[in-house]
Symmetry: C2
């Protein structure tokens, strides 16, 4: 390691202590710095900023887009020593946490105090609050509770130069100039390091109803969503659609799940409501599905009779990893207007068919949020194929004014395609803001904005 870097690491060690830094020479990626307080984060950042040293913030490492990719010599910054739940305020219904706290710990602490922290993603056991915020994580309950952004009351952030932007208070309403927290939420660690957060807690639901239904057409599907949202009077917490090709795979012979309802329709949906009265909700849920049946919106339905059956239904929805059987396979996470979805998925499938006679396209998603996950596989994992498939997936999104990332973010992986969703004036404005907040470009460089976004597109 160069003497200059050695000197920097020694200065950092003087701040964070012996336990606060691990050299990571094996991977050639400098070191992992583990500050124990916001003040230490501030002092480390100031040092790095003065030295022009790049910093890559890492959370639970469950990024889907290489959001924590490190180049040679880049330092990682982990807040794993800052994982304290500092306060649960039962009157303001907020929780104050350090950004290194794990999502699952936050959920459990809320529940222990009679509250609900609604954000939930598969990686709950490893993902941190800071990572959730940096990526504006979504998940299965967005339709009712919103994404991470909607759960945040206030943030403490350390800027590249070490300035600590202190946390505002617990008030949900604060119209005093620019709402700076929104700038940092979804900025993927490129504008500042979130060190603490005040989270909004909700009322803990004490009942839930879960069912799986079969839907004869896309028109019926959108009508069903509107009907269910209205009928359930604010209690709808999930509306997860599986296209037939995926449904038949995940409940087929090669997977450990049996189909809850017969095949035949183009869509099936997992519907869940959460409330406070199990008896009432169950009866209302049954009436709802029975009316949907009468209206021709669904052609079949099954309702979970107990938690075990509910868990079995969710296991089908959540067992996305089965798709690896078809590897090489890619996971896309796009959003677009609901009324464009049917044509879009058909178009992608047609394009795959044209080029690869043997292919599969698994499609599922959070319909109410306009969010689709597409997993195409064509039997080849070369870089050329990847680019060709990315182009098919993203061209259809571009012309429909959709987003190339609904939930996962851009990270390192999607920088080449950013311009498919954001216009050049938007990107220019984003870069201006980046330049204003991090003029030395030390914070997570190469994420969101690629070094040369067009390299892979010029093939």
């Amino acid at each position: 390691m160069a003497p200059k870097v050695m000197q920097l690491l020694e200065s950092i060690e003087a701040i964070v202590g012996e336990n606060g830094i691990f050299e990571d020479d094996a991977r050639g990626v400098g070191a992992i710095v583990r500050p124990a307080s916001s003040d230490q984060v501030s002092r480390v950042l100031k040092l790095c900023n003065d030295a022009g040293q790049s910093i890559v913030p890492i959370g639970g490492n469950s990024t889907m887009v290489q959001g924590t990719h490190r180049g040679r010599g880049e330092l990682a910054l982990s807040l794993e020593r800052m994982s304290m739940i500092e306060e649960i305020d039962t009157e303001s219904r907020t929780m104050t946490v350090q950004a290194g706290a794990k999502l699952q710990d936050v959920q459990e602490a809320a529940e222990k105090n009679g509250f609900f922290y609604p954000l939930d993603i598969g990686a709950r056991g490893s993902a941190t609050v800071g990572g959730n915020i940096a990526t504006n994580a979504g998940g299965n309950r967005v339709i009712r509770y919103g994404m991470t952004r909607e759960q945040i009351v206030a943030l403490e952030v350390v800027l590249a130069d070490g300035t600590i932007i202190p946390m505002q208070g617990k008030a949900l309403k604060n119209n005093t100039g620019y709402d700076l927290k929104h700038l940092f939420i979804s900025s993927e660690g490129t504008l500042g390091i979130v060190t603490r957060a005040i989270l909004r807690l909700r009322t803990l639901p004490t009942s839930q109803c879960c069912g799986w239904v079969s839907v004869p057409s896309f028109e019926a599907l959108t009508k069903l969503l509107t009907f269910v949202e209205g009928f359930s009077q604010g209690m709808l917490s999930s509306f997860e659609v599986l296209w037939a090709e995926y449904y038949e795979f995940i409940t087929g012979p090669s997977c450990p799940h049996s189909p809850p309802i017969p095949y035949g329709d183009p869509y099936t949906v997992l519907i869940e409501t959460q409330g406070m009265n199990q008896k009432e909700n169950t009866s209302s849920f049954e009436v709802m599905l029975s009316e949907a049946f009468s209206e021709g919106l669904i052609s079949d339905a099954v309702i979970a009779k107990n938690m075990a059956e509910r868990d079995r239904l969710w296991a089908i929805r959540d067992d996305v990893n089965q798709a690896i059987q078809l590897a090489p396979i890619w996971a896309f996470d796009v959003s677009l207007a609901i009324n464009d979805m049917e044509a879009y998925v058909d178009e992608v499938k047609t394009a795959l068919n044209e080029r690869w006679s043997k292919n599969s396209l698994f499609t599922y998603g959070h319909l109410g949020d306009g969010n689709l996950h597409l997993l195409p596989a064509v039997g080849d994992g070369s870089n050329e194929t990847r680019i060709a498939i990315e182009r098919i997936i993203y061209e259809g999104i571009r012309k429909r004014n959709g987003s190339i990332s609904a939930e996962h973010g851009i990270g390192h992986h999607k920088t080449a395609w950013l311009s498919y969703t954001r216009t050049s004036v938007e990107i220019a404005l984003m870069k201006k803001i980046k330049q204003t907040l991090d003029p030395g470009d030390i914070l997570n460089p190469g994420k969101i904005f690629g070094e040369d976004p067009c390299t892979i597109l010029t093939e």
Copy 2:
């Protein structure tokens, strides 16, 4: 008018046409410019930016904080010719509007199509969507649906130099870099001119229940909020608290309302739920209040039996203008943690008592949002008195880490007190962003950031 300004106005007229500009010499405030398209807004702004000409965007002029205050020679920019509702997309449940559309027109257009635009404020008939966005307007249904920020899917914005930031698509989820729209929401016209917006529509509620209850203590009040939120399973749309002093005035001999429930308790609350089944909701609302009574959370209650009775209850809550009887009177709009509210209001009242033996303090607000409106009157309207009262109101907010403006914004009126809510590093960062987006400071100058924020504080 100076020749240079005359020349600028002529160039502007060439863009917006004869009907697009009114000279406003009588008030010595230059002219009102009324562009008819985003392109015209862009070209006008470019001209003004090049000429260093200040622009004050105006909406419905219902600002509570002199947000559209114009200095001599400043041009006003009105979007009243851009009031079109461009599209209602029933599948994506969005409405695309020009920013000059009136809030009430938006509400009615939504309803005509079977949807609900939940934002509602008293000035709905004059306030524009653009003004709502610039100020992040709140109102009576925030507890369920959020403020204006939560209703916005996408924005088209024209920057000071004329750059048009185009609107993103209709997808609710879009994690592709910085979410720029949040920068403009609540920026009070200082960072750009919002010209179009995609608004999120909700399911139209078809039933509502409304009641007025009496609450024996602040502890019971916060417990009641938690209980009602839980019991009503997501249907709670308003929880409006009146402190006794205000309740007794607004239903007393000098006002045209009679008290729905007897005096005696320190707080009364208007509670409203919205759902889709009137019969079920009514029965559930009655059970809810009866359980609250058994638990000692309320000591009395009345439930509206029909829309006329419901309107009579809301008329009490909304007839804030009666307070003018006590003029000179000031209207404050603060927010703070719910568990700090009781002590805060007591402290303000004590401070008023110490200095003015005869005074009144009307207090009411949206408890669930942490938002209080305070209207003190002491029989004197001098500038000295105003400053003394502002100091009392805002000192208590500062030490509790609250906000000096929950809903109304800073405008011209509150610039002197910004530092009571936002730290110097936050203000410095806000100013840096302002400088980045509007280096010539032509957009609504003197708002949010005062010329000299401390002038009035040094008395």
